[in-house]
């Protein structure tokens, strides 16, 4: 089976320390004011405690709340909507990514090797069509590079055999990363052993590869993937054009790649 990198998140572990966000920002040189990942939160519903309805407690003059957090021992359906929790996220590397469809140049693509949704810097023209196409707001236009930027599950780190920056740094290990199609992986095991949900917009399910363990109630926040008709029309027209323009260039790059690989192999043999 093909590799599909994915993340399983246990929001009930998240303490909202934002280590994942800063770690990502440093690793990927994300400029100030922008983020590749996030921690969202469910606001609690404050109420007077059962005790406050209790005449004895009222007589004591207590004005006390209790927020009952969900029971960690067992998953109670969709969790307790009254309690606060923190939900880490980032690009969900969807199986059916709306951003890929919205991209007029093919800069955004689904990587065949590992199932990540990637961005080819050289092909991106910075048009930003993919930004509203993402239901999760996982893309932004880089203010200096003038092209779109997003999470790539720390491709460079993975090449070196390291975990993504957000995963390795997490104090409570709320984020788990791996190949969801490998039954031996931690992510596959977690999905098998726990009830999980994927956070999607009802109208545009992009089949995200980010699974949330159902210890907390999922939050309903993704927006509808926007891909205006003219863009789609233009995309169908422009894609072959752009490819033609960059074709030669890409060919050159490929040749260089090939050369490097051959050289590397020789080095390894030595």
């Amino acid at each position: 089976m093909k590799t599909q990198l994915a993340m399983v998140i246990d929001s009930s572990s998240c303490i909202d320390c934002k280590a994942c966000m800063v770690s990502c920002k440093v690793e990927n040189k994300v400029p100030g004011g922008y983020w590749r990942n996030w921690v969202k939160q469910r606001e609690p519903r404050f109420g007077k405690i059962p005790g406050a309805k209790d005449p004895a407690a009222q007589a004591e003059g207590c004005r006390t709340w209790i927020i009952q957090a969900p029971d960690f021992d067992k998953v109670k359906g969709y969790g307790d909507p009254g309690s606060m929790h923190f939900q880490p996220g980032g690009c969900m590397h969807c199986a059916n990514p709306a951003c890929v469809q919205a991209c007029p140049t093919g800069a955004t693509y689904k990587d065949e090797k590992d199932g990540t949704v990637r961005l080819n810097d050289k092909l991106c023209i910075g048009c930003g069509c993919c930004i509203p196409a993402c239901p999760y707001g996982a893309r932004y236009r880089h203010p200096e590079k003038k092209i779109v930027d997003k999470c790539d599950f720390c491709a460079k780190r993975r090449e070196r055999g390291e975990l993504p920056a957000c995963v390795i740094t997490c104090p409570t290990k709320a984020r788990t990363f791996g190949n969801i199609n490998d039954p031996e992986s931690d992510v596959a095991r977690l999905v098998k052993e726990n009830k999980t949900v994927r956070v999607v917009n009802e109208e545009t399910d992009t089949e995200p590869n980010m699974y949330y363990v159902l210890t907390t109630a999922p939050m309903n926040w993704p927006r509808k993937a926007e891909s205006p008709t003219p863009i789609r029309w233009w995309a169908s027209l422009a894609k072959p054009l752009v490819w033609a323009v960059v074709g030669l260039n890409a060919l050159g790059v490929l040749v260089m790649f090939g050369k490097q690989l051959i050289i590397k192999d020789e080095e390894t043999e030595k």
């Binding site: 404050f46 923190f86 740094t169």
Partner: protein, 735 residues
């Protein structure tokens, strides 16, 4: 660290070390990955990255880290997966260490004040000029006012021990530290109950009551991480806090207790445990001193009585006491750290310590642990000289009932300097500490500085304290210097040793304080006391740990496999009665309450006023990291948390500017309407409203905590009491 390729690590296999495994498994599994450096694929940079072990210096936890260096630049800090104390993590601040290193606001060379204090006019000096001047000024003050005429205030840093040593050989006993603004009252209470300050075995606990602590935001390793792990295993967490912190948010139960009344809650817990006989009688017989007196003492402190005081229903107090006792001894009242809150904060913590004693959790899994052996040794240093013209005592001697001589009390020292009594202090040496922002009543600190002839600050950036100094000397960050070894207690995780070597050379003209002090000593005829190098010092520290040098080199950390539980088996407690003291005889002899007595609050909150509480978040260390570009983005300015009901009465809207005032001072900041705070309480984060224009991200933002807080202290320990201030809040523009 090895830079050899470990070809056995394939690029696919790293996925097996994904984060959901236990921390230990991650620690074991991830480690070889870091050795497989020679990735053979596409290279983006000119050279292979180098990896260096170090210990984080963004707060005082000293978490093990691996720094990645590419072309001489530190490009990333990752957790050292073998570092058990932090459970192989690095928090937001740890990740932002690169931003401290490459901060454009860093001090670059020695600066001499030219204009008035705080005016911000500086003259660049060479190191020779700066050191000659400092040596001359300190010597002059020493000659004119005795050596005790110089106050030394080192922050919590791995090189601060050299400031202590310099003060000793220079001849001043006037050394104050961070601790009198922090945890002295807790230390006092636990020393006077158990004879030792405990470490909490959060990981193995089944039931934790956390009062006056916010462990998920104020990160302490391993407690913060262990708390989540314990909760996942079924540990129950009950949080008492006037404010809905993130710890409260994740707790099973949160009670917004009336601020300052925690003692009543714990006396009532004790009342229930004693009167319902929920304690182990055999244990009590053997280990506890004064149970009969305590039984009598807490008779009147029923849950019904406490409910009226602390605003928590009696039946919940009773239930919690029963649940807590049922989980004992793997249950605890979390001892907390910053306990600088009320004028009776030692006695509040005594009430908590006594409840812990009744749970029988001392020296047991899931309870309170004694210090483990780390094994580092103090270096052999020459005997410090004696100056016979010196006064008999520290400046703040006797200003609180039972002070810690080595820590002192900053507040009482400051008062004495302002008064010029019992003797004048005219010099101040500060290192990596920021009292202008962190110590209550900023105006008094400014008044104290006015009394000085010479103030010298060594720091990384132009803190408010540096801003007021005469001479400012630039220090390197923790990633650019060689440090001594540090022994760390990691609760049930480990007892370990870390150290630091430079990851990159020091930037600009910055010099470590150790070098500065050696140079000063040389200029003042004290060179014999600083004749050692850092390597020699460290060698001496580690001389009884033969394996530590290899472990530090290969793993970045040394673990001492010392005994964890049962340290006290067959041993006496280090108290007067040699038992755990519910009743403290020494207190009785001194005329202090031998058992905590619940008294009315020093000042009640009038209906048109609020009590101000302070507390941490996960982004800022005290008053030091607010200007860090990466962290500042998480909270660009502080706000005033206020409940919507009183806000409505005052015409305050969310995001609107308010004027906050107290008897100490006032400030302007934006209001943040929060249902998660009591109606009689307001809260603000520390480190904003700065004086220093050298902190470009935070200058002109928010209000200063130290400006608003009044400077009360704990009567027993002299620790600061930061929750005693009653404030007025008004909408800006309201008459």
């Amino acid at each position: 660290m090895a830079t050899k390729t470990d070809t056995s690590i394939s690029r696919r296999s790293f996925l097996k070390w994904s984060g959901a495994a236990t921390a230990a498994a991650v620690a074991g599994g991830q480690a070889p990955v870091l050795h497989s450096l020679a990735y053979t694929g596409e290279k983006s940079t000119g050279s292979e990255p180098e990896y260096h072990f170090s210990a984080c210096g963004m707060c005082l936890n000293k978490c093990g880290l691996v720094a990645r260096v590419e072309n001489g630049i530190v490009t990333k800090l990752d957790p050292n997966p073998k570092f058990l104390k932090s459970r192989g993590m690095l928090c937001a601040r740890g990740n932002a260490g690169t931003s401290q290193l490459y901060d454009p606001d860093r001090l670059k060379y020695p600066l001499l004040r030219k204009g008035e204090r705080g005016e911000g006019r500086w003259q660049r000096l060479s190191w020779d000029q700066a050191l000659d001047l400092a040596a001359e000024k300190l010597t002059k003050i020493g000659e004119e006012y005795t050596r005790c005429g110089v106050l030394f205030t080192p922050g919590s840093d791995m090189q601060s021990q050299f400031v202590h040593w310099f003060a000793e050989v220079f001849g001043s006993y006037n050394v104050t530290t961070h601790e009198s603004n922090c945890l002295l009252s807790r230390n006092r209470a636990y020393l006077d109950t158990f004879g030792e300050v405990p470490f909490a075995d959060v990981l193995h606990s089944k039931y934790i009551i956390m009062a006056g602590a916010n462990r998920f935001e104020s990160i302490i390793t391993p407690d913060s991480i262990d708390l989540m792990t314990a909760m996942k295993k079924g540990c129950k967490l009950v949080v008492l806090d006037p404010r809905f912190t993130k710890t409260a948010a994740l707790a099973h139960e949160w009670f917004p207790i009336r601020p300052g009344t925690d003692m009543s809650f714990f006396l009532a817990i004790t009342h229930v445990i004693i009167h319902e006989k929920l304690y182990d009688e055999k244990y009590a017989q053997e280990k506890l001193y004064g149970l009969d007196k305590l039984t009598e003492h807490v008779k009147k402190y029923s849950p019904e009585w406490a409910a009226k005081v602390c605003d928590i229903p009696a039946k919940d107090i009773r239930r919690i006491a029963q649940e807590l006792a049922a989980a004992a001894p793997a249950a605890m009242i979390y001892p907390g750290r910053r306990t600088s809150d009320y004028v009776n904060s030692t006695q509040i913590r005594r009430a908590m310590a006594i409840a812990n004693a009744l749970l029988g959790n001392w020296d047991k899994p899931g309870g309170l642990l004694a210090a483990r052996m780390v094994g580092t040794t103090g270096p052999e240093l020459p005997e410090a000289p004696f100056y016979d013209d010196n006064p008999d005592d520290r400046l703040d001697h006797g200003s609180a009932h039972i002070m810690f001589d080595e820590e002192g009390s900053f507040k009482h020292t400051r008062d004495a300097i302002i008064a010029g009594k019992p003797y004048p202090v005219k010099g101040w040496f500060t290192y990596k500490i920021n009292p202008l922002q962190s110590v209550a009543n900023r105006r008094k600190t400014l008044e104290m500085i006015d009394k000085l002839d010479f103030m010298l600050t060594v720091d990384i950036a132009m803190s408010d304290t540096a801003w007021m100094a005469d001479l400012v000397l630039p220090a390197p960050s923790y990633l650019e210097r060689q440090d001594p070894a540090a022994g760390l207690q990691g609760s049930s995780a480990c007892a370990c040793v870390v150290t630091r070597d430079p990851v990159v050379p020091a930037l600009f003209e910055s010099k470590p304080v150790f070098w500065i002090l050696r140079e000063l000593a040389g200029r003042m005829g004290l060179e014999e006391y600083f004749s050692f190098t850092m390597e020699e010092y460290r060698e001496q520290q580690l001389r009884k740990l033969p394996d530590s040098e290899r472990a530090l080199r290969e793993d970045g950390v040394y673990y001492n496999p010392s005994k964890l539980y049962g340290i006290y088996e067959g041993k006496i407690y280090k108290t007067k009665s040699q038992k755990i003291e519910l009743y403290n005889e020494r207190y009785a002899e001194m005329g202090l309450d031998p058992m905590p007595v619940c008294k009315p609050l020093r000042e009640n909150v009038p209906s048109d006023r609020f009590r101000m509480v302070v507390g941490r978040n996960a982004y800022f260390t005290h008053c030091t990291t607010q200007n860090n570009t990466l962290l500042n983005e998480l909270m660009p300015e502080n706000t005033l948390w206020i409940h919507p009901n009183p806000a409505k009465k005052l015409g305050i809207r969310d995001g609107g500017t308010v004027i906050l005032s107290s008897k100490s001072g006032e400030g302007e900041l934006k209001a943040e309407l929060k249902k998660g705070i009591r109606e009689d309480t307001v809260y603000m984060a520390s480190g904003f409203g700065v004086l220093s224009e050298g902190l470009t991200n935070v200058f002109g933002k928010g209000a200063c905590m130290a400006e608003i807080l009044e400077d009360f202290t704990d009567e027993l320990s002299g620790n600061m009491a930061m929750h005693e201030t009653i404030v007025k809040v008004a909408r800006k523009g309201a008459s």
